[in-house]
Structures are given as C-alpha cells and as structure tokens.
Symmetry: C2
Subunit: 192 residues, 2 copies
Amino acid sequence: MMAQGTTRRQIVEAADDLFYRQGFEHTSFADIARVVDISRGNFYHHFKSKDDILDAVIKTRLDRTQHMLADWEEEGTTPKDRIRSYIKILLTNWSMIKDYGCPVGTLCTELAKLNHASKTEANKIFTLFRVWLRNQFRQLGHKKDADALAMHVLSWSQGVATLGNAFDDYKYVKQEVDKMCAWLDTLSVRTK
Amino acid sequence: MMAQGTTRRQIVEAADDLFYRQGFEHTSFADIARVVDISRGNFYHHFKSKDDILDAVIKTRLDRTQHMLADWEEEGTTPKDRIRSYIKILLTNWSMIKDYGCPVGTLCTELAKLNHASKTEANKIFTLFRVWLRNQFRQLGHKKDADALAMHVLSWSQGVATLGNAFDDYKYVKQEVDKMCAWLDTLSVRTK
DNA sequence: GGAAGACTAGGACAACTGACCTAATGTGTC
DNA sequence: GACACATTAGGTCAGTTGTCCTAGTCTTCC
C-alpha cells in the first residue's frame, strides 16, 4: 500500500531536482515521469498543468528555506555565526553550484526571462534570505543599514555563485568566502 | 539590391536580441523569422543549425565587448576611471537589466544548465572582462592580487545585476554602484 | 461483497520544434 | 542572351511538447 500523497511528493521532488539541474522549461513531463516511473497521463490527477508543478516546487523550496534558516538560530550562536552559516553554503553546496549555479538565482533569472506568472513567487525565496539576514544585522546593532547590509551579502554570494559556476573555480570561491567572512568581522557590534 | 551578408547579419542581430530577452532555448526559428521577416527555410542557407546561430551571436558579442573595452582606454583616463566605466554599466543598461538581467551572466547560466557545447565560448566573454579588469588593476600597481581584484569586481556587479533584476530595485543598484566606487577609491595606487 | 472514490496506465490529440529539400528568383559576368 | 551562383520561399518531415480522455485497478469503508 502506498502512503497517501506519495506519488505527488515524488513528482514534486523529482521536478525540484530537474528544474534545478536542467532548468524549468527544458524539463519535460517525460523527464519527470522517467524518474518517478509513472505514466505521463498520471500527472493530471495530481496537477492541472506544468505551471502547477512549478508552484508546488516553489512552495516546498520556500518551506525548506524557512526551516533551514530556523535551524541556524540555535542556542549559543551569535548573529555573526549565523551569517557565516549562510555565506558557507557556497562551499557546502559547491559540488552542485559548480555545475548548476545557485538554485534560487538561476530559477528567478529563468522565470524573469520567460516572464512567467510565478516569478513573483520564486522571488520570495530571495526575500526569505533577505529578511533573515536583515534581522541578523539588526541584532548586531545595525538599525538603519540592516537591509542594505543584507542585500550586500545576498548579491555578493550570488555573484560568486555565478562566476564560480562559469569558471568552475573552487579556489576563487573559497577566497571570496574568506573575504566575506573577513568583511563580516570588521563590522562593529553594538550592544544595546 | 541587397548588400552582401545583410540577411545573415540581420538574423544574428535579431537572434542576439531575442536570446537575451527570451533565452536561447525559448527562442524559436519562427521568432527570429518574424523579426527579420524571412521564411523559416531561409535559415539553412546561412547557418547549418540553431547552434550555429548561437555561435555567431557569441562571436559578435565577443567582438563588441572587445571594442567597448578598447574604447574605454581613451587618452587621459586613469585605470580607476576605466574600472568605473565598467561598474557603471549597471546604471547605463539598467532599463534592460531590470527586465532581462546581465546578458553575459544569464547566457552562461543557461548554457551551463543545458550543458551546451558552446558554453565554453560564452564564458570567454567573462574572460574578456576579467583580463581587461586585471590589466587595469595591474596598472594601479597591484601585481599579485590583480586577478583576485578583477574577479571581485566581476562577481560583485554580477550579483547586483541578479538581485536588481529579481527585486526590480533601482535604488539598491545605485547604492551598490556607489559602494563599489567608494571601495575602488580606498585602493592604494602605487606608481612605479 | 459491494459501492464509492482515489489513483494509475496508456493512448490520442493538436501544436510546435529544428531540420531538410526542392523549385524558383535574383544577381553578376562573360 | 547564356551561364553560374547566391539567395530565398514554401512545403515536408519526424520528433517532442503539454494537455486531455477513458478505461481500468486498487483501497477503504459500510
């Protein structure tokens, strides 16, 4: 007996992976069906269109991101520690990034070019990081420029992901990550 | 009478524009034919495949980039002036970037995901900027870290383009450009 | 065991893709 | 005018796409 919703979850999981590695448009129903091992016609019992699958994928990514960010807010960690956790994804996920780039950035870029209806939803993943980072900088005592600092970290890491992917250069990525951490250390910490 | 090679040039020009605005894969022969106002079958007299058109597009982009970089090497400009010219493309081309992102970054990202044979060629556009920027930093007296500085500028602007596109936020882009220029000013200038 | 509903397989559909072919037209040269 | 060649239009092709439909199977609950 199949657990309820298993097929649907498998479809979303496979689509999530394929959308990341091949791009949304370049991934066909046949591709997903091959991975999950179901017939093509089966999709339309769970989703009413391909865009529907995309929306489900974005939703799970939003969920996972939120959980990841929450997990980083452990006991005994400082805001700087947490920001470092974010910066270090570049190294943690390097084996994927070098081949497929940043999952968030590449999806948003593709949907922007397709002028896809769900691009706003996809951008919310960026917003999740932005708000979380902003909050960390606020805790460091940066009231006025917390958002600017958050955006700065966001764009910095985004650029490193893009260039690291293009040049397939781990040494450079490591170097930039160190630079980001060093920059972070120079920031003043104000206790209230 | 048609000037020689006009149609071919028109095809490349239209493809260049469409590849940028819609993405390579999402652009069909019909799309290009509509712009240039020729029949579909006509393509195969000038190009042997769609990939062939892509190669021609990349070649013209390489040419144009090279000319642009050469133009920036005017009389009486300092290396810092020239680097500033690069940074300010973000503002100059903002009306396009906000909708379609960076032409170089988005193409390289797409071709990486498609694992396309021409992705190496596309990356050469990045290399062009990289070498040029490296050269500017060398002229500023930075021998050992010239390449690292070049890559830093490259990734920084790349990230700003991606985030600026996602959030459609000119104020943020302006802010980051100012930050980059300020950072540039802090760099020491050593005369030999 | 029988009814109801969830789930699935597999085929069919029209639309579109890049690719290829051939016939026709234009252009320049001798 | 005759010839060679460059250029083009328009049709055809097989393959793939997302979508939809129907018939059938499995599961659950009474």
